[in-house]
Each structure stands twice: as C-alpha cells, then as structure tokens.
C-alpha cells in the first residue's frame, strides 16, 4: 500500500550559513526528484526550503506550477502534488529544514495541517494552512473553522505536551468525506509534532490519514527515559504490528540513526535498516527510515522515526 | 406546590378533578370573570350527594353510639336530652346576668377576643422575627436553639408566669395564647423565607433591586403562603389553649363556662360546649383556609 507521505528530504545550512544544502532524502524508486535535488542549493527565502527558513515557520505549498517551487517538472513527474516544509530551529539557530511531499490520488484520504497559536492574541490554535487532497473536503471545512485549546484535539495535545503525539483513533467517527462520494471513510489516524520556531508563536504540524492510506508504514516516537541518558520508545504505530508500547530497547547518544539525531539535533535518513539497533529489519514492507528531531527551547525533546 | 399545603385530604381529590377539568393544556385559561356561559350543565346531584352523605352518616353513627351507650345511664346525658338543653341555650345566647353569668354567645365572643388579641400580638412579633431569622443566617443560628428549647413547652406551663407578671386573668390568658401561637409563625415564616426559590432571588440580583423592593415584591409574596400556614396552625393551637387557660383562670369565656358547668354538674352543657368549641375551631380554620387559597398561586 502506498503511504500518504511519498517523499521526505532535509536541507542543512552550509558552512557560511548562507544557503541550504541537500542533507538527505527518501524519494522512492525511480524518482526524478532524487536526481536533481542532490545538486541543488537554496538561499534564504528561495524555493520551498528557503521560504520556511526565511519565514521561520512551517510552509505548505499546494500547487507547484507557477509558484516559487524550483523543481516543478520533476515533482509532477513523480506524481507529487503538495510540499510541506518544516524548519527545525534550535532557539534562533536553524538546524535543518525538512520537506515532506505528498501525492494525490483517488484512493488516498488524508490531510497535512499546520496549526498555529499566537499567544499574544489568544489561546486558540487555528489552522494556518493545510493540504487535503481530493477526498477530504468535509474535513477541510471543519478544520478551517475549528480552534483548539491546549490539550484538546490532536494539535492541542502536541501543543500541551511539547512532544509528538500519535493517535490511532482520532474520535472523529466515520463519515462521507466527499459530498458526491458514496464511500464512508474515517480519517482516524493522526500524528502531530510541535515545531520549534524562533519567537513565541506555536506551530504544530499534523498528519491525518484513513485506514488503508497510512502516513507512513511505521511511526516511532523516541524520548529520553527517566535517567536522561538513553532514549526509550514511548509510543508509535506500525501498520503490520499495531500500536507500539514500551519496548526494552534503549538507545544511547549516537547509537543508530535515532541516537545520532539525538546527538546532533539534525534529521537523518537511512535505507540500511539491518544496521540499525533493534530488529526493525525483520518487519515486512519497511525500506527506509527518516528520523526528525523535535526541539524545544534548544533541548531535544523527542525523535520521530518514520518508516517507508 | 404551594397550594397543596392548605388542602385537607377530603378536598384534595375534588380539587384535583376540578383542576384537570378547567386546565386544557397549552391554552390560556380564562380568569373567573363573567364569561358568556356555555349551555348550562345539569346540576351535579351525584357529587353533592357524595359530598354530604358520608359526613352525615358519620355524625349519625356517633350520635347513635352515644345514644346506645347512655340509654340506661344516670350520670351521662342522652343525645335527646342534650339536644333539648342546647335548644334552650341557643334560644337566648346573648343574655347577661352579671359578669359571671353570660349567654353562650358572649362567652364565645370573649374567648375569640382573647384569641384575636393574643394571636394578633403573636403575628405582629412572630412574622417579622421569622423574616429576619430566615434572611440572616446569623440570627438563625443565634435564635434557633432558643426556639427549639421553648417550643415544646406546654403553653399552660406559661400561664403561671403570665399570672405572676400581669397579675390578672385576662392578660395572662392573652400572654399564654401569644407564647403558644408565636412559634409556628416564626418557624413557618423563616422556612418560607429560606425556601424562596433561588431563581427569584437571582432575578432580583440581575435586576439589581433595592432591598426594600426585594422584600415587598419578592420575599413577601413568596413567603405569604408559608406565613398563612403558620397562622393556620397557630389558630388551631390558640383556640385549644384559650379553652384550657380559661378553665384555669376563670372569669369569662367558653373555657370558664365549661369549668363552671362542671362545677354545677351540668354534663349536658359540657357536651354542648365540646361541640361548640369544635365548631368554632372548625370555622376559624375554614376561614383561614379560604384566605390561604385566595393567596396561593398554582404553578
């Protein structure tokens, strides 16, 4: 089954901190984006990653054609239709920009949303932007009109905890998502992560999907354990294995891609799962892994591992 | 339901039937004002019969048993003899042969007068006090133990104190009436004030009504039913007490008359007095029930 997220890449500031260079990416087999992205650079404000850096907040781009996007032809060839750039700031200092690409098709039902709260204005977290594909106009209608408070709803929970949240049942009930569709679908899986941005504004990136079109094949949320010396798997979900609970595996700083993310505060990508600690390589259908750090107040709060 | 307080069980079922008949749901009910009448319904003989017959049978039963029991008695008068004596008594109820020998009518009136005075004083003192106790919880806590302590005391135990202080029978009797009938008035009024629905008081708060307005427009009308219950309870006790007090103090009044007739061994007159006392008591109560109905608001 195809995952909702089709491609993930990350960009790192170069030595002079003037440009973003390609740090790594997972694009799927035969991707044209893979080919051209490795050689590209983006200045501040340039292209999608540059924009996220410049604006200091997550950016959603719904239509590549005629926009500031620099790789439109390749993206369309790969069947990608939406890009979301997530800057990862360490205080005021940009560590990396992660870009997710999604592709629309008839079968997928899901959404990526960027939620925002400006504490100077109110206690409401409202939708800054979102990509809903072609099958979720109901969802979009409600999301655009809903304000969450801290602790309520998927974005509200991520906001309150300053940590990634995975819900395998959003409690939205099932419904007819498209007015002309006779197919009842439930958008019921959700994954949200808070974005560390300079300033006091709070941003939460939320991925929502229906059964059958998962966000990723497997999602793991790693957080420092009580001792603070090792990372433990706090929660997660695997399409083949179900909900993940506390596992005995502990990762030290620098151990495996996740441990490395903890050590550096930078995203990581690998397609060699066999060399990772633990036995994820044994699980069927997993090819590559992307690890994203979740930082808050310049501290590493969690590491999110997405498997494709 | 405030009005339920005033209905005796006998009337309750009749009233319920009447209420159901005259309250069609969801339509405003016309007030009892002159309304062009619908074609007259035939007089309801049946319910009149049902209302009158059982009490009459009860009374007849009582008289019958009395008659049977006293058929051969020398000391206890029979119904017939008693009835004849009653006729004589009521032939001239308002004669006056001196301060200690007055017609039965005067005696009743004297007793009622004492009740009225004592009762009036009790109302004048008790109702405002009840209001204050209900409204201010500090006063409530202060006076409640006192009230609980004094209330169960038999009113007749107050009589000697009355005699001591007032040195004369009439004021002492009035004092006794006062002290026994004040308690229901205080307590019922206080309860009434405490039971004023929170919503009415909230309305007063939202409207920001002055304390005076709250008392006159909200508290007083809301408490009135409770006050009248208190009054009605007091009246029964007062009438009871006056007869006993008068027996003890002498002078004039129906209670004195009973004791006097006992000293004359005129048992007929005692029995008549019993009936008279009962009837007057009943009438007093009915009067107050009537007043209470006038002021109740069916919700």
């Amino acid at each position: 089954m195809k995952t909702f997220i089709r491609a993930v890449e990350f960009w790192l500031p170069d030595a002079e901190r003037g440009q973003l260079e390609h740090g790594g990416g997972f694009y799927g087999a035969g991707s044209r984006m893979a080919g051209i992205s490795r050689e590209m650079c983006f200045g501040r404000g340039e292209g999608l990653p540059g924009r996220a850096w410049d604006e200091g907040r997550p950016v959603v781009l719904q239509a590549f054609e005629g926009s500031y996007f620099k790789r439109t032809a390749a993206a369309l060839a790969d069947g990608l239709t939406c890009g979301i750039a997530l800057p990862i700031f360490n205080g005021d200092y940009l560590n990396a920009v992660v870009v997710f690409f999604c592709g629309d098709d008839e079968a997928h039902a899901g959404a990526i949303e960027v939620w925002h709260n400006d504490p100077a204005v109110s206690k409401d977290m409202t939708l800054a932007d979102g990509h809903y594909g072609r099958t979720a106009d109901t969802f979009e209608f409600i999301s655009r009109r809903t304000a969450f408070r801290s602790g309520t709803g998927l974005p509200g929970l991520a906001w309150q905890r300053h940590a990634p949240v995975f819900l395998d049942d959003l409690g939205r009930g099932s419904g007819f998502l498209r007015s002309d569709s006779a197919v009842k679908v439930g958008i019921n899986r959700g994954f949200a992560m808070p974005c560390a941005t300079p300033g006091l504004d709070v941003y939460v990136l939320a991925f929502l999907s229906a059964l059958g079109t998962p966000i990723a094949r497997r999602v793991e949320i790693w957080q420092p354990d009580v001792s603070g010396q090792a990372l433990a798997l706090q929660a997660g979900f695997c399409e083949s294995a179900g909900a993940l609970g506390d596992a005995p595996l502990r990762l030290a700083r620098g151990q495996g891609t996740v441990g490395h993310c903890w050590l550096t505060g930078l995203p990581g990508i690998t397609d060699n799962l066999a060399s990772e600690p633990g036995d994820v390589a044994q699980l069927p259908g997993l090819g590559a892994m992307v690890v994203l750090p979740v930082l808050q107040d310049a501290r590493f709060v969690a590491g999110v591992a997405l498997y494709f | 339901m405030v009005s339920a307080v005033f209905h005796s069980p006998l009337e309750a079922s009749q009233d319920a039937a009447a209420a159901r008949a005259s309250n069609p749901p969801a339509a405003p009910v016309a007030r009892p004002a002159p309304v062009p009448k619908a074609p007259r319904q035939p007089f309801d003989w049946r319910s009149l019969w049902l209302a009158v017959l059982p009490p009459v049978i009860g009374l007849a039963l009582l008289v019958g048993i009395w008659g049977i029991l006293t058929q051969n008695s020398t000391t206890f008068p029979t119904p017939k003899v008693t009835f004849e004596a009653a006729v004589k008594l009521f032939a001239d109820p308002f004669y006056s042969n001196g301060p200690n020998d007055q017609g039965i009518g005067w005696n009743i009136l004297f007793s009622l007068q004492r009740v009225a005075v004592g009762f009036g004083l009790a109302a004048a003192v008790g109702i405002p006090m009840g209001f204050m106790i209900g409204r201010f919880s500090f006063l409530n806590r202060m006076l409640n133990p006192l009230i609980s302590l004094l209330r169960p005391v038999s009113p007749l135990a107050w009589l000697p104190i009355g005699l001591l202080v007032f040195k004369s029978a009439n004021p002492a009797a009035i004092w006794t009436i006062f002290i026994c009938s004040i308690w229901p008035m205080i307590i019922n009024t206080a309860v009434g004030v405490q039971r004023v629905p929170e919503d009415y008081l909230n309305v007063a708060r939202v409207l920001n009504l002055s304390e005076w307005k709250v008392i006159t427009k909200i508290l007083f009308p809301a408490v009135l039913p409770y006050m009248l219950t208190g009054v009605r309870l007091s009246v029964g006790t007062a009438w009871l007490v006056i007869v006993a007090a008068e027996m003890l103090t002498g002078g004039v009044g129906i209670g004195f008359w009973v004791w006097d007739e006992w000293n004359n061994l005129n048992v007929k007159h005692i029995i008549i007095a019993i009936f008279v006392i009962g009837i007057v008591g009943l009438l007093l109560e009915q009067l107050l029930v009537g007043i209470a109905k006038r002021f109740s608001y069916d919700d």
Binding site: R149, R172, A235 | P28
Partner: protein
C-alpha cells in the same frame, strides 16, 4: 462603527467551590472573547461547568481567580446590562406577565422616564416575543413556552448589553422549542444583541450560533474546541437540514461530545 471584538472578555478564569464535602474545582483556565453582536453557545456534557461560566459572566458568581470584563468594565456583580434568561422561566407567579416585565423596565428606566413610557416599553417587549395578547395573564395561566417568552421579553426589555441564556428552552417540548428558536433568531437579528447561551442541544447550537464553544468534561473543565459556524443568515431550519455545511458542523460537535470526550486518556504518547 467598528464592533468590539472583545465585548465580553474572560481571561484565565478559575472557579473553585468550597463545599461541605471539600473543594470542587469547576472551571480552570477559561479564556474566551465574545464580539459585540455575536451569538455564542456553550455546549458540553452535564457537569462541564457551562452554567457556572454563564453565571460568572452574569456576575451571579465571583470567579476564584481571573478577570472578566464586559464592554471594558469589570464584571463585579449582576446587573441589568447582562440580562439573564433562566431555564426555569422565573416569572414571579403573583404578578401578571406585564407586571413581571414592568418590574425590569421600571428598574432600568424608571428614574428617567414617565409611567406612560415605561408602559409602552413593557408592551413593546411583550409584542416583540409575540405575547402582546396575554399581558394581563398570570404565569400559571399560560403555557410553558409562553412563560419562557415572557422571560425573554423581560430580559430584552432592559436593553441589555449582553443577553445570557441558560438552557432557556430545555424544559419545553420539541415543537415549542423549535418555534421559540425561530423566534429568537428573528429577535436577535432585529435587536442585534450579543448573546451567550448554554445548551445541551447540538442542533440548537448549530442553528443559532456564530460560534460554538465546546467544553471538556468536568471537574476542572475548560474550553476544548471552538467551532465557527458561518452559515448564512437568516437561517431556515428546514433548508438547513439538507445543507451540507450544516451537517458537517453538526457532526463536528457530535464528534466532540460523543466520540472524543473519552479520548484524552487513550493517547499515551
């Protein structure tokens, strides 16, 4: 004239009751702004503190902490500028309908207006709610729906800044409720009142509101979500029944109330 976006402002309000059985934490961290002319409903399960919040705005309760402002003034006590319509109509049974409304009118306008003017106001208020024909009737002589209309008339007669309604139609049967909801829509459109209403009824909330404030379960309840209902006005209940967006809004509120309130414990991230 620019509308005040924070006509009612509740800032970090908390409500803790000291009861015989101990402290009861009813509300925590309530932050809410209501714009002038807006119709906001508070919805949630029983015990979620929505009536408590309404009473705080009315001034009938004093918040344990936090600030409540109405038209930039602190809400320190109840008053006619924040008129309340209670669920139990609270008409004084010993006064007629007109006298009940007059009591309010006199209080607010009595100092400056003549008796005739007060009478005119009373009559106008009763006619606004369709009770002009029953002015001299006592409350016990009219039906529940009519009593509630008089309650609304009384509140509106005071020309309040804010109309606060605590489940005003909760005690009525469904048809009367529907009828009164339609009347309320028309009245509010005419008077352009700012309204905060507490309700249990999802359909009522979606039909009447500009925004629906959904509260979490108590104790220590707070605001969970706020849904903006921007269905076009005037709203017609029969047409809306088939309106896609109405159905979406309704489902969103139902989901919050019935599908999600047990959810918070599940997410052990």
């Amino acid at each position: 004239m620019t509308t005040d976006q924070q006509y009612i402002k509740v800032e970090n309000a908390e409500m803790v009751f000291e009861t015989k059985k101990g402290r009861f934490h009813a509300l925590r961290e309530i932050d809410l702004s209501v714009a002038q002319g807006e119709f906001v409903t508070l919805i949630g399960h029983s015990g979620c503190g929505k009536s408590t919040l309404l009473n705080l705005i009315a001034g009938l309760l004093k918040a344990t902490s936090g600030v409540l402002l109405c038209d930039k003034r602190e809400i320190a006590a109840p008053g006619p500028e924040r008129a309340v319509v209670f669920q139990n109509h609270s008409l004084l049974p010993w006064l007629s309908c007109a006298e009940n409304v007059h009591l309010a009118v006199e209080r607010v306008f009595g100092a400056n207006e003549s008796k005739a003017q007060l009478k005119a106001r009373t009559q106008a208020a009763l006619e606004l709610v369709g009770m002009g024909h029953a002015v001299n009737k006592r409350p016990h002589e009219v039906s529940g729906g009519m009593k509630q209309r008089v309650g609304i008339a009384r509140a509106l007669a005071m020309e309040p800044k804010v109309l606060l309604m605590d489940e005003p139609f909760g005690a009525l049967d469904a048809l009367t409720r529907a009828h009164l909801q339609d009347e309320l829509l028309k009245i509010v459109a005419r008077t352009k009142s700012t309204v905060v209403m507490v309700t249990h009824d999802v359909d009522e909330a979606v039909l009447l509101s500009d925004r629906i404030v959904m509260m979490t379960n108590g104790p220590a309840a707070t605001i969970g979500e706020i849904l903006r209902v921007d269905l076009a006005r005037p709203r017609n209940r029969v047409e809306l029944a088939e309106d896609r967006n109405y159905v979406h809004c309704r489902k969103a509120v139902l989901d919050f109330l019935y599908t999600r309130q047990g959810h918070v414990e599940k997410a052990a991230a």
